[in-house]
């Protein structure tokens, strides 16, 4: 029985992706990525990125966590959004429920104001999906379980293969 701390099921994945697709369109963004607070990529939509998305996810989460700690230091509860301005591309990050981070990469074909406005709406939508997902985990983990002895033996074999000296 695998009991990960959290899991994303097919229907939630599509609900998330649809919300992100709508955001890309309405905000005229280049890429939209959803990352969990430990830096793991959940979903990504928009143009195919020409950067390494795993590094991006890991750094995004670290960026958000560092800023969260900074907020605490100066007596704020949180910084719920972050903005990084570049010469060509910029980034806008928003916090979703359960520490999930929404990252929007956009260029000069749109404006920060529009991105901010659209993100606000998407954050609300994603909050509902993510909270619903966590509620569901309580029982879905029990019933949906492709991971058995065979799986763990297979994975251990893979580990031995990968790290063979």
């Amino acid at each position: 029985m695998v009991r990960a701390e959290w899991a994303i099921f097919e229907e939630d994945y599509w609900a998330i992706t649809n919300a992100l697709e709508a955001l890309v369109q309405s905000a005229q963004a280049k890429h939209v990525l959803l990352v969990d607070r430990t830096g793991q990529m959940i979903a990504q939509v928009g143009d195919s990125p020409d950067f390494d998305t795993q590094s991006f996810a890991s750094l995004c989460a670290a960026d958000f966590e560092a800023n969260f700690a900074l907020a605490k230091l100066i007596g704020e509860d949180d910084f719920s959004t972050l903005y990084h301005q570049g010469a060509r591309d910029s980034m806008y990050l928003g916090k979703i429920a359960r520490g999930v981070v929404l990252a929007v990469v956009f260029d000069k074909s749109t404006t920060l104001g529009l991105v901010r406005l659209r993100v606000r709406r998407t954050v609300e939508e994603l909050n509902v999906i993510i909270e619903g997902l966590f509620d569901k985990l309580q029982y879905r983990n029990e019933e949906y379980d492709p991971f058995d002895q065979e799986f763990s033996e297979g994975v251990e074999q893979e580990i031995d293969n990968l790290f063979a000296d």
């Binding site: 701390e5 959290w6 899991a7 097919e10 750094l59 949906y144 492709p146 893979e158 990968l162 000296d165």
Partner: protein
């Protein structure tokens, strides 16, 4: 915080290398990066100072082959070892599924090991985590140093709980894969047995 994505059929786990400054955490990750085939590893991200000291973290994603339709990915992180970077260390520990403690075998660094282990306990406590309850492996690095303490002594003083341990010379690769293999297997076994942590 392990994440299973049933849609993309991926399992992601986070392993953190902890230990005193200049103990060889980055050397472990660097050796792993250098030795693995390109298709199994992602980009190595290093946030270091000009002096090659880890400032925030190193990050390396690794990917196992598919098993029963699922891909398993390990995200390896190191923390900055210096005492004054504790805020960064705490952030990186968040959601970790397993920890490797890279101890420095040198007698001169014994106190630094003690301090770092204590700090690890304290930081884990903040996330309601405890060594032993989460996968944990110790590595006695720098076994080639002339003032390296005997392993028996290191274990007696720093590992009275008897956690799995390995001797290593990380820059040469000795013990690096054994350590990672051990913690990776522990993490996967834990996934199968831990109570729902939602």
């Amino acid at each position: 915080m392990s994440l299973i994505n049933y849609s993309s059929r991926e399992i992601n786990c986070k392993i953190v290398y902890y230990g005193p400054g200049l103990g060889g955490k980055t050397s472990n990750i660097q050796y792993i990066y250098d030795k693995l085939a390109p298709e199994t590893k992602g980009k190595l991200v290093t946030l270091a100072t000009e002096m090659d000291r880890t400032l925030f973290f190193d990050f390396l994603p690794l990917e196992l082959g598919e098993v029963k339709g699922f891909k398993t990915r390990f995200h390896l992180y190191t923390v900055p070892g210096q005492v004054y970077y504790n805020a960064s260390r705490k952030l990186i520990l968040r959601g970790c599924d397993g920890v490797v403690f890279v101890g420095d075998s040198s007698e001169a660094r014994f106190d630094a090991n003690v301090e770092s282990l204590y700090n690890l306990h304290e930081n884990l406590k903040e996330y309601n985590l405890e060594l032993g309850k989460i996968p944990f492996v110790m590595q006695w690095n720098k076994r080639d140093l002339p003032d390296a303490l005997p392993v028996a002594e290191l274990n007696e003083e720093l590992n009275p709980e008897g956690f799995d341990w390995f001797e290593a010379i990380a820059y040469k690769g000795d013990g690096v894969f054994d350590t990672l293999k051990c913690v990776a297997k522990q993490v996967l076994r834990q996934l199968q047995t831990q109570p729902a942590g939602v």
